[in-house]
């Protein structure tokens, strides 16, 4: 068997591959807003959504430490631009699915901070009445179709949603997120082939944050440009700077339009980074990645960089940002209060809804 140690050299090569897509951060591009159909209002909303996620996750971490949140809890810090940028390109009626790192997706799809926090607390006012918890956030009305904890398990579900939309001649698109490690499950390949063959209105967005738990992508992929996998299915594909909310928007918009109007699926690989450990029980750095690497990636913070851009373009002032931050912190604090005060699910709830009643 080939030795995959001597990781230094391999890692620096992998770094280069990875960074190709995320070299140009927003702020050092010449005219990042040019040619974008985004109003100032919408740009501010995008900023707000990312900040809400960040503040929510910070609070969730704190609540986990206080044992208000139990079990497993995976935070989205650092990856906010992926869900927010993609969502900005979606219609409200479009379906969204993701894996277990789902707080950000749920919030941007319109589930309230109250309902998400209450779900993490296991309260009856949570979006899943406390039955699902952190990894399984869900609201059919908002078309947030989970929150899925079996890695890769939701990829074919997305094809089913897209099939339904197409069959019923509805113009909805399904956007399905998953971590890069999920692309190693067989079902990823099975479904991409099916989606291409059936010409489904679906967009697959692989959030490549470099690690699947403690395994670096270069140790898990024979070909490092993951987006190229879609070439096997003759599916349109692209690599996106997942730290740049505008790049996410732009490329998802193209893909979503292609899905909606031409029934052509797309595979996007968003290169991004998680600032926290894999889950709350994993330290931020240690045996599988260095402190230096984490610090370096933090310089690409999608929220800070986008905020700088809005300031530079005179769209949003420092003061307005501060005000918004205060308002968001209030919302998040209120979600704690809401979750605290909410009732535990009644014990009868255990037995309800196992099948249609």
């Amino acid at each position: 068997m080939a030795k995959s140690a001597a990781p230094k050299k391999k890692q620096s090569k992998a770094n280069k591959t990875f960074d190709k897509a995320i070299k140009k951060t927003l702020t050092n591009q010449k005219a990042p807003l040019e040619g974008l159909d985004l109003s100032e209002e919408k740009l501010i909303q995008i900023y707000r959504q990312m900040l809400l996620i960040r503040r929510f996750e910070e609070k969730a971490a704190q609540m986990y430490g206080m044992e208000k949140i139990m079990g497993f809890c995976h935070l989205y810090n650092g990856q906010e631009a992926v869900a927010v940028g993609a969502n900005a390109a979606m219609h409200e009626t479009d379906y969204m699915l993701t894996a277990y790192r789902d707080h950000g997706h749920a919030l941007v799809k319109g589930i309230t901070a109250n309902e998400v926090m209450a779900e993490l607390f296991g309260k009856v006012t949570g979006c899943s009445r406390g039955k699902g918890g952190s990894m399984h956030l869900f609201d059919a009305e908002k078309r947030m179709m989970g929150g899925h904890a079996i890695v890769g398990g939701h990829i074919p579900l997305a094809a089913g949603f897209a099939f339904g939309s197409k069959y019923k001649a509805e113009q909805d698109v399904t956007v399905c997120f998953f971590g890069e490690a999920a692309a190693n499950q067989g079902v990823f390949h099975e479904t991409l082939n099916m989606a291409a063959l059936w010409k489904l209105p679906v967009v697959y967005i692989c959030e490549n944050n470099r690690y699947g738990m403690g395994t670096a992508f270069e140790r898990a992929f024979a070909v490092w440009d993951i987006y190229e996998r879609a070439s096997a299915y003759n599916m349109p594909r692209d690599v996106v700077d997942g730290m740049d909310v505008l790049d996410m928007y732009r490329k998802t918009k193209e893909a979503v339009d292609r899905a909606r109007y031409e029934h052509i699926p797309t595979f996007l690989e968003a290169r991004t980074y998680r600032f926290r450990g894999h889950s709350m029980s994993d330290p931020i750095h240690g045996h599988y990645r260095t402190k230096e690497e984490v610090e370096e990636m933090k310089a690409k913070d999608p929220i800070i960089n986008f905020g700088e851009l809005l300031k530079k373009e005179n769209i949003f002032s420092e003061e307005q940002m501060k005000e918004m931050d205060d308002e968001i912190k209030k919302i998040v604090n209120e979600s704690i209060e809401f979750a605290e005060k909410s009732e535990e699910p009644p014990l009868e709830d255990l037995y309800t809804d196992v099948i249609v009643e």
Binding site: I150, Q185, M213, T215, P345, Y351, V354
Partner: protein
Amino acid sequence: MPVQPYIEAISAALWEEMERDKEVFLLGEDIGVYGGAFKVTKGFLEKFGEERVIDTVLAEAAIIGAATGAAIVGMRPVAEMQFADFVTCGFNQLVNNTASIHYRWGLPVPMVVRLPSGGNIHGGPFHSRNPEAWFFHQPGLKLVAPSTPYDAKGLLKAAIRDPDPVLFFEYKYLYRRIKGEVPSEDYVVPIGKADVKRKGNDATIITYGPTVHVALDAAQDIAGSDEYDVEVLDLRSLMPFDKEAILQSVKRTNKVLILHEDTLTGGIGGEIAAFINENAFEYLDAPVRRLGACDTPVPYAPTLETEFLPGKDKVLKNLKELLEY
């Protein structure tokens, strides 16, 4: 004898078997650099190198299938499912390939799949399952489910040395909560042998895995308050299960409660009950009782999960009704 937590007994068994036999190797997600999701294999990569401690990609079907192939050609793979729940993704390999190779080809498949199982850790529906019944129904597989550090180490060693594929159910809830004496010299706990964890004459609780401790707790309580003497028979091996030990106990106590953490309907308890009815009916002073988790998915909310699991209160209620029958 040194006292060790359950999880360390598992690590020790793996370590010693790898030292003993160079055909033994480990494969699974994050077991090397990361040391395993629960740190069972911490330090293994450094000691045994990456040819024997293999960080796989996230692909359970490929892990189990490749382990099966390697076993057929004479290796002794120990595959880790990060959580037992994820074995679902490798189901086809296990029940079709792994389980039937020897029947069709006459070639042994000496492999182990480790399955961190069970609830009580608030993991929600897909990180809490007890999937043993699915595999109990599949001829060609052996299943073991230790409840103590001693049994865990001895059964894992036996499983690794066994010529057949063995599913090793280990319990996340017990990992660091249960400590016990573990000999430092080599030993095995033979597959197929149950163990009386508490002697008694008035009724038998037949159980395995984490509910052994619930049963012991309940038996203790009832001995204190009602002066009944309840036996706790730990099956340890589920397939094959120890028919002799079951009959011996039942014939003596004449009353049986079968207890498992897996959901009740279609659980292993049904088969044990049928076995007792067929073989010891005339010794029974009461209908065989069963208690398992409720027939629902595993809920996240801690309050609901407590209601879901067969905890001590439920065991006591069942025991009392049984004893007073």
